[in-house]
């Protein structure tokens, strides 16, 4: 019932006492340093193949990659649920590589939420505090405080059976946050929810993190989600880190073909010849501002302009429209240049949108062209 109503946690800053706010923003956030982490399962499955990664204190950091890339293994090593075969893990300046999970000041929001079925919501929330030996009265107050912070309302006195997916997600988040860990780990916490609720909870999660200033390590395979949420993203594949950077950098300047494909780019063309910044590909000749020395040219569909008819000019290519997908706010085009296809996205600003079969000129600015390695 209260999913829409309670989603706007951080919307009302005056809903909570000021002292509380001070406490929370003063919470010490911890940095994470991972060095040379290796993990293999059985004889042949390499989950992590030498991961070096530093996560800053108070950062919303995302581990992004396809299934089997090692992101979940890395998260489980952070939680202590998996032991690395080699390498070290330092959190807040302290080496915790060998520390068992119940001694780590790290909490996890599990993909399946993992709420205890034999306990009420209140007992679920208080579980971590109880295990750390906090007296009952204090636990009770803490639960009320977190329930207020995450706007759980009357959910606290329900039974776990009676909760919807979104409510379970919120309880799982509160159960981890209530322990005030140095680092909060989130294992695809939104993947079981439908699209609407999911984007709502993305915003909610982001606000909670900014407000608490806690270090969040978030695992997802959804690049859109990663870009919306993260301060920085690490893209993983085959147990190694491909690229680390802020969302714009990873999306706009992917370092290799894997990252580019994973971030949703399809316009990648091998460079057959180059003269300085003039690059020759199957599309024709194009000039990049800073070509770099990559072997592939990346053209992002949204950087392209489509001009009607054939127009001569620098970085102009003549193409034929083979497909048009009208999406309201924008339209996606599939264009043919000789035997090569190129995708373009054009914002719908009420101008002419070319039809299938129409000849158009594709114009691209030199600063939007990026090269990358295989």
């Amino acid at each position: 019932m209260s999913e829409t109503m309670t989603a706007d946690i951080a919307d009302h800053p005056d809903a909570r006492p000021a002292a509380d706010e001070r406490d929370r923003s003063n919470h010490k956030a911890s940095s994470i340093e991972m060095q040379g982490l290796h993990k293999r399962f059985g004889r042949d499955t390499v989950a992590l193949d030498g991961v070096d990664l530093n996560i800053r204190a108070g950062e919303f950091f995302t581990l992004l990659g396809p299934s089997g890339c090692g992101k979940t293994t890395l998260l489980r090593i952070l939680a202590g649920l998996e032991e690395p075969d080699a390498g070290s893990l330092v959190v807040g300046g302290k080496d915790i590589t060998e520390m068992p999970p119940h001694q780590r000041s790290v909490n996890t929001v599990f993909q399946s939420y993992a709420l205890f079925p034999h306990l009420s919501v209140r007992e679920n929330l208080a579980f971590g505090l109880k295990m750390r030996g906090m007296p009952a009265a204090k636990r009770h107050a803490k639960v009320d405080e977190i329930a207020d912070f995450i706007k759980l309302g009357d959910l606290v006195d329900r039974h776990v059976d009676q909760l919807s997916g979104g409510q379970r997600q919120r309880i799982a988040l509160a159960r981890a946050l209530i322990c005030e860990p140095d680092v909060l780990l989130l294992d695809e916490p939104l993947s079981a929810l439908d699209a609407g609720l999911r984007s709502q909870l993305q915003v909610e999660l982001l606000r909670v993190q900014k407000r608490l200033g806690m270090t969040f390590v978030f695992v997802t395979h959804d690049q859109q989600e990663a870009m919306v949420m993260s301060d920085r993203i690490a893209v993983l594949n085959g147990g190694t880190i491909q690229q680390v950077g802020p969302p714009r950098e990873v999306y706009e300047r992917p370092v290799n073909a894997f990252v580019a494909h994973f971030m949703g780019h399809d316009n990648l063309y091998p460079i057959s010849a180059r003269q300085g910044d003039r690059l020759t590909t199957a599309l024709g000749e194009l000039t990049a501002e800073e070509a770099g020395d990559g072997e592939l040219l990346l053209i992002r569909p949204e950087t392209l302009d489509l001009l009607p008819g054939a127009v001569e000019g620098p970085n102009h290519l003549t193409a034929t429209v083979t497909e048009r997908l009208y999406r309201g706010s924008h339209a996606e085009f599939r264009l043919a240049i000789g035997d090569t296809t190129l995708q373009a996205t054009v914002n719908n600003r009420g101008r002419h949108l070319p039809e299938v079969g129409e000849t158009v000129t594709v114009a691209v600015a030199p600063e939007d062209l990026v090269t990358l390695s295989e």
Binding site: G80, A114, H118, F127
Partner: protein, 265 residues
Amino acid sequence: MRKRTLARGLAGIWWVTLFFLYVPLFVIVLFSFNSANSTAVFENFSLVWYRRLFGNEQIIDAFGHSLVLAVSSSIVALVIGCLIGYGMYRHRHRKLGWLIVLIYLPIVLPDIVFGISEMAFFVQIHAWTGLLEPGLGTMIIAHVTFQIPFVALIVYSRFVGLDPTLFEAAKDLYASPVKRVVHFMVPTIKPALISAFFLSFTLSIDDFVISFFTAGPESATLPIYIWSAIKKGVTPEINAIATLMIGAVAIAAIFSMLFNRQGRR
């Protein structure tokens, strides 16, 4: 038309089955309240046989033995079976097929073979060491061995039905190994434990063959008493004992079912 005939035929089998299952029980219950010393003609309703029963010291003793045996063997079987069930769950990814067959063997082994072998074993041990004299002690050991597989199976299936990340959530939320047992595992499988206890209890109360071979001269249980009394003919007194046993076992079975269902919710 033919389909309906078939359906009627199957329904007929159902009623015949129920008839043979429950009519004898009903007759026993009915005649336990008979005022006459007859198992053929019902005269008047009376509790005379129950009064007689509670005045018979042998029966009271046998009843006591049955109860002590059932309760203590069920408790021991619960503890051991629970550990085995958890172990089976914990190591379910390993190839433990043969080990599990070993644990389940007593279920399929004929009771009489099991009873005789236990007896022979206890006699040998007693002859060598002087320990394990036939009596309640040997009966408890024998009962525990056939109760364990049932307990282990119930506990195992409860654990398998749980989300495996719950175990990780408990670790993640600062529960040490001991606290995980006390605050997570035992409360989570509590319905299964209660169910397993009542099942063990009914199995023990029920058992005649294995008890018969492992009992000592002073440890006759109700079934053993009935067996020896019946050699002199079925008396309404026996009917009264049987009625009480039906009641006790039915109650335990109902509890077992209720708690098992609650656990699977």
